[in-house]
Structure formats: structure tokens, C-alpha cells
Symmetry: C4
Subunit: 257 residues, 4 copies
Amino acid sequence: MIARAVVIALALVAQSAAAQPKSAGPADPKLIEELILANRILAMEGVVDAMGHISVRHNRDPSRYLIALARAPELVTAEDVVEYDLDSNLVVPTTRRQYSERYIHGEIYKARPDVIAVIHNHSPGIIPFGVSKVPLRAITHSGGFFAEPVPVWEPRKEFGMTEMLVNNSALGRSLVQSLGKHAAVLMRGHGVAVTGPSIQHVVGRAIYLEVGAKLQAQAIALGGGVNYLDPEEGRKIEARRDYIRSWELWKRKVTGQ
Amino acid sequence: MIARAVVIALALVAQSAAAQPKSAGPADPKLIEELILANRILAMEGVVDAMGHISVRHNRDPSRYLIALARAPELVTAEDVVEYDLDSNLVVPTTRRQYSERYIHGEIYKARPDVIAVIHNHSPGIIPFGVSKVPLRAITHSGGFFAEPVPVWEPRKEFGMTEMLVNNSALGRSLVQSLGKHAAVLMRGHGVAVTGPSIQHVVGRAIYLEVGAKLQAQAIALGGGVNYLDPEEGRKIEARRDYIRSWELWKRKVTGQ
Amino acid sequence: MIARAVVIALALVAQSAAAQPKSAGPADPKLIEELILANRILAMEGVVDAMGHISVRHNRDPSRYLIALARAPELVTAEDVVEYDLDSNLVVPTTRRQYSERYIHGEIYKARPDVIAVIHNHSPGIIPFGVSKVPLRAITHSGGFFAEPVPVWEPRKEFGMTEMLVNNSALGRSLVQSLGKHAAVLMRGHGVAVTGPSIQHVVGRAIYLEVGAKLQAQAIALGGGVNYLDPEEGRKIEARRDYIRSWELWKRKVTGQ
Amino acid sequence: MIARAVVIALALVAQSAAAQPKSAGPADPKLIEELILANRILAMEGVVDAMGHISVRHNRDPSRYLIALARAPELVTAEDVVEYDLDSNLVVPTTRRQYSERYIHGEIYKARPDVIAVIHNHSPGIIPFGVSKVPLRAITHSGGFFAEPVPVWEPRKEFGMTEMLVNNSALGRSLVQSLGKHAAVLMRGHGVAVTGPSIQHVVGRAIYLEVGAKLQAQAIALGGGVNYLDPEEGRKIEARRDYIRSWELWKRKVTGQ
């Protein structure tokens, strides 16, 4: 992963001069297929309802990313997937509606060469932690990637009263500041942005962040204190994490094969 | 929306002299179709079980509204839809049972020219807030329409011990007093009435009011205080709210297409 | 209902001398059909899992009742239904296993001429109230039948350490003492027995007792006090209660028609 | 059960000298079929997601056990089932991935001759009790097998910071120490290991341990104290426990017959 991140970092510097977004060319059809599967898996697992979106960095050019036009993830098909530069400008114009919060994706890809896929969602378990002083933090093995508490982004600090959407680059950059080097960042009164080094990782993380939030809330409700996962335990777990077994199951369930 | 509200207000005045309800003529078949879809979407999303109902103002006459005869929303078909005047008298008599609480709809349409569609339901998340001193109030973007706390109607104040149903005009008028200019009003020990400027809006609101109630309860349970949505944030959100993306998904799911 | 209860009371006295149970003859096929539907509705609504059972008084003889042999309610067919006297002796012997807790049904029918149908179940919402000092009590219209708190039967008082089953008449009589004139009685560390004047009523009550228990728990968790339904409100509601609209929906859902 | 346990104990001693694992020969096809059913039942009931596994002792040799290679339980077929000795060495080598935590199973079979089947899972209800000072303990009849609180294994004590997996024999032995003579042992920040004298028992226990954990959490949340099942009540219940009725239902549901 580290080697790939360096290549991406260099490519980002080389391309920063370009003003008009140019297509990186057709993406790997397998990547598109995996992105469609991811959309449907997220819907099946209750991570997204009609809202929320997932993107992936273009396999040919780290300064481009792929995401659907505005549509419920459950309904997304390959025909809905389009290409953006990292300022979230479309490479090919369209008359269809775009996700107004695509800047979440573009700004994260700009700042974090290690990130290959991003999800923005509003799953019910995580939202309460965005409005509470209680930090979202893993209690269990499946949450190794958030053994350090998940930071919370508060748009009021910098922007005052807003419509609570990350619908321009300035808001996106502010969100990325809060994200820092974490795997995810909560958005106060709104939802979360989750990152990963692959589509499978980011899907697994979004699902288990939701699972983990519900588990933590239940543990708190027992009233007997909470023995959190140690950050060192989290690091050891994540060093060998993959989602191969889960992906096989999720794929079989959404494709019915 | 404002222009249409004025037209409706004038029409209401003009028709208030009429004693015997006369039909406004056949409603737009697309409106009926949307009303049927709405019934089934509300059932699918768990906003209604066998009980609860949705109405829409007649497209030809603001002093008439359309709603099904007594039947579980999931089973409602176009043949079940009938027309009422705003005193909730049937335009065409029937031997079938009517919703005994249709007065909720009639009295809201009378008092609120801006309202085009109304839902009455007993979804599980909202009911606890009707019997608690804790006000129901949005913590998240999807609840922009109740960034101001939802009022609670207490029938005991004016009517003492009742069977807890809004089954006449006097009870309906009392409920409407509590509703005021809000999008929704809780009914103590019973449920809620939700209003909107279109069928899509009222369905979206009923669904996200339920979602929001559950989120708020979870946030309270964390014990770390709750950072509510600011009413000004709510206004900014709602100024541009639509439910187009959600409606596409909900429609596809209930029609299986 | 009252007239029918008197007839039943007289019939019970007249038959109490009989030692060997004799069949009352074939039951109304419509009653059997309704009992089968009820079994499947209770499973669909999560009131029963593999355990739990529903019975109905024989339509020809109030001193006989009908219930399935031991089988998960979801799987019960007309072939599984058998006839018992009120001491819970089989009218026709069988080698198949019987519900060991059929005494719940027999003893309730003996003591309560007004009861025509009984359910015993272990639905998750109600069980916590059987082990808590907080009484189970309606907060909402749908729970009018338990506006007075549901009594709790504690077998330890009379019987000490048991296997927690009502598997003989003495235990059944003790349970009936706690039931009194209520619609339902909780069994500590076990479940509940629910009664009604018809199959439709008892099914509706078992479903809405479970719904109501969850609502009450949620209301308590909000921490703002609970404004319970007044017993007088409950009486007014129940005086006109039926489950016609719900039954139509439930029947359509379990039969798929 | 006791007679069989003695036979197993003697066989374990006799075989402890063997260094290279040899197959005990083909297992009873009905046992394999039951193991496959169990995998699918656990998935259907939400006890496992893509993770978790179930094993059974070989019917021909108590020093061998049968379990699938690494795959989500819902997808496991007879072709995935392989044979291990009690040090969790494969009898027939494979290039496929194995469950890294198979040592849970091997070490339990070694130490507990009475155990015929083992499940390791991470069901959501039980996890909070592994990180809380509140012990997991039955409040109801269905939880008779954990009327004594479930012990919690804390790997930090002996092993410090780990990746939280029982992926070698030393960790397995430590877990078994905590298990003692209990039916189950919680693993802090991870999940649970459940044991039973048959596949049907262990599946029933894993399902009702999850049910019981949720019930206990709800009872605690009511705030009125919790009247737990007495250990003596638990013993009386378990002396006659079987899962015949449940198994018929579960089997019908997963096979669709």
C-alpha cells in the first residue's frame, strides 16, 4: 500500500497545473463492476438509504475519481458512473443531477494519497455520536480501524449556519482537516465520511463502523463502564485485515448467485 | 408554493357557504396513482401498520380532499379512494366504513392553505415523545423540517377523558390549534399528524420524522448531551429540500419495477 | 359478550361432574381455519418463535378447547389441532408430544367464562417487565386493554424453585389467581398469557402488548417522565375496539392473497 | 451423556501419543448434513454474519473434529467441511484458507469430553457484556444454561496486546481456562465461544444466548432492578431441555421445505 501511495502522491503534484479536466480514459470494467456491487451491498446492509454515495479513484490516473450521478445507491448501474477531477469537475458534461456533496470525495483524494475509495453515508448508529460529547470508539475486533476515537467535524466553527452539506471545495477542505490521518470523520448533525485503501476495505469499514457504533451505544447503556479496544490492539488487527470472506458473502447476496 | 397557497385561501372563502358537499369532479389519475404509491411506501417503511392514513387535496378544488375508505394502507387501491369536503363529509355516500379520524385531514386543510397532503400515523419512534417532557427535535440534516421542536397536543386539557381519537370536527380544530405553523404535531398517547406541500414531501417527512425520533432517542441514551440542529440550519436545509431521489427508490421498491 | 359469558358459566357448572373427557363433536371448520391463521400471524409478527401457542374455546361446548399438538406455530396445520377438556386432558389419545403448558389455557377457560381465546408467548418486549419493578402499562391508544398495569405472576412464592413451566393444573390455577380480571398476566422470567373474547381480539392484544412494551421502554429511556394512558381512557377505547382492519391485512400477508 | 463423556475421555488419553494426524475415516453423512444446516440456521438467525464458525466432534473418533474451511457460514457446503485433530492440524492438507481461530474448537474438545459441538460467533447482543462490568446472566427460561453468569476471558492478562484472535493453541488453552465448566465464555472485545452436547443444543444455546443478552440489556434499561433466574431454576430447566421443536422450524425455514 505504501509504495502505491507514493506513486499517487507524485502523480498528484504533476497534474496540479491542469485547469480543464481531461478524461483519464476508460476505467477498468472490473473496477466499475466492483463499484456497482459496493453500491448495492451498502444498500442491503442498511449503510445507505436513498442517500449516500461511494467513489473510487480511477485506476489509470490518481487525479480522477469515479462515482455515480445523483441516484439512490441501490439503483446505480454502470451507465450512471462518471469521472471527476479532484476539484470535483465533471470530465464529460451532463444535464443530469450530480451528487451535491461530491466535494467530500474530491478533497479527500487530494489530501490523502493512501485513500483509494470513499463513502459518505448517514447510517443510523453513527449519527448520535456526531451530536454527543461521547466519542465514537471501537469496543471490538471488527472495529480495529477506529480504535482511536473518530474525530467530529463541526461546520459551524468555520462557516456558521449552513445547509449542512459539503457542497463546495472549501467545506470539503475543512472536513479533510478534521479527518486528518483517521479512517473516518463524523459530520455533526449529518453523517460520516469513510476512507479505505480499496473498495472492499471502505465497504467493510462503513459496515463495521455502523455495527460498532450500535455495539458501543449498547455497552454504554449497560451502565457498567466500557473497556475499549486499545489503539495498539487496533493496529495489530488492521495490519492483517482483509474483507475477502465478507465480500464473497455480500456479493453472493446482492447478485443472488 | 406561496402563489398556490393564496389561490387556495381565496377558494376556501368562496366555498364556505356551501352546505351540501358537491364533487369537484374526477381527480387527476396521476394524483390518485401517487396517493396509492404513498400508501404502500408508508407501509413498506414501517410508518403505518394496519392503521394510519394519508390524504391529498383535490387538484381541482382546494375545498375537497381525497383519501381511502377504512382499510390498511398496504391494501389500498384506486377503488378505495373517495372525496370529502373539508368538514369531512363524503361527496358520494357509501355503506363501507370510513376512517373515523378523517377530521384530522379536513380541519388541517381548512386552517392551512399551504398544506396539500396530510398523514396520520402511529410509528413507534415518535410515540414516546408524545408522553414525555423531552421534546421531539431534529439532530440531523434529514430533519430540517422539525428543527423547531414538534408541539404535543393533549386532548385531556379541553376534552377530559376521551377514547383518544380525533373523530369529530371539534377535536380536529383543537389539534390544528396545537399544530400552528409547524410541519407536524404529536398527539399524546396516540401518534402524529404530518403535513406537507405535496405527497412526496409529506411521505418524506413522515419517514424522516420517524428516523429522526429514533436517532434523537439514541443520542439521549449516550448520556453525553445533545447538540441539536439549529432552527436556522433547518430553514436553510428546507429551502432547497426535495425528495426526488428517495421517491425514485421507494417507487421502484413498492412496484418491483 | 356478557350474554355469551353467562351461557358459558352455566354450561361449565353443568359439566363439572364429568370424569372422562368426551368430544364435543367436530368444531366449526371456520374456527379451525381462523386458529391456523392466528398461529401464522403470531409467527409473522414476531410474537412467537418456535415456542408459544394459541387456543380457542370449542364453539359447541365451553368446557372444551382447541389447540395444536406440540409444534412451532408457524408450522401448525388443521391436522395438528386437537380437543382438550378444561383439565387439559386430551379427548382423543395420541402418541405425539403435547404442549406441556396447555394448563395455562385450560385453567383460564375454567376461571374466566368471558375468555374465548388464549395465547401464551415469550415476545422480547414484554419479558423485561416480568423481572423488573417497573410495571408494564400502556402509554398509547393501541394499548387500551392494559391501561391498568399488567400483573406479574411469581411462581417462587407458592412453589419455590421450579423449571419455570406451567405444566400442571396447580401451577395453572396459581397463574389464574394473578391474572384476576385482567386481559393479560406476565410470568416472571418466562413470558405472558393473553386472553380475549375472540381469536381476533387475543391476536390483536398479543401483538399490541408487545408493541406497547417496547414503546414504554423507549419512553422510559428518554428520561423525561412518562404520561401514561388513564384507565378511564383505556375503558373508553376498549368499549369500541375491534381488529377488523388489522385482521384483513394480517390475513392477506400470511396467505399471500 | 455421562456414559458417552467417559468413553471420550478414555479415547483422548489413548490417542494423545499420536504425532501425525490420521483421518478417523468418513464421518456420518447425517452429521455433515446437520452441520451444514446449523451453519445456515446461525446465519438466518443473525448469530453469525460472514464471520463465526461451528464445529462438531467426529462421530468415529473423539480426538477429531469437523469444521468448514474459511467461508461465511451461510455459504458453507459439504465440500467445505474438513477434519482436524485436537491440536487443530488438518488431516488432509489443502491450499485453501483455514479458520485462523479453529484453536477455539480444538482446545475445548481436548479439555471438555462432554462437549460435542462448539460455536464461535460475534452476535451483537453479547459483545457489550464482554467489555462491561455487568455480567451476562439469564433473566428467563430460555437461558437456563447461563443462569450462572457467563465468564469473560481477557487476553490482555496473559498475552498483553494481541490482534485479539485465538489463532494458536496457547491462546486456546487460556480461553478454555476461563470457560471452565460453563456452557459459554465471552471473549473481551471480540465475541463468544458456546459449547453443547450436540449440534442442536449448541445452535439453540448460541441463539438463545443472543436473545437473552438483548433481554437482559432491556431489563437493565428499565431502571427497576433485575430479578435474575436462580441457578437452581436454571438447573431444573436444563435437565429436560431439548431443541426438537425449534430445530423443526429452523430446518424448514433454511431449506424452504
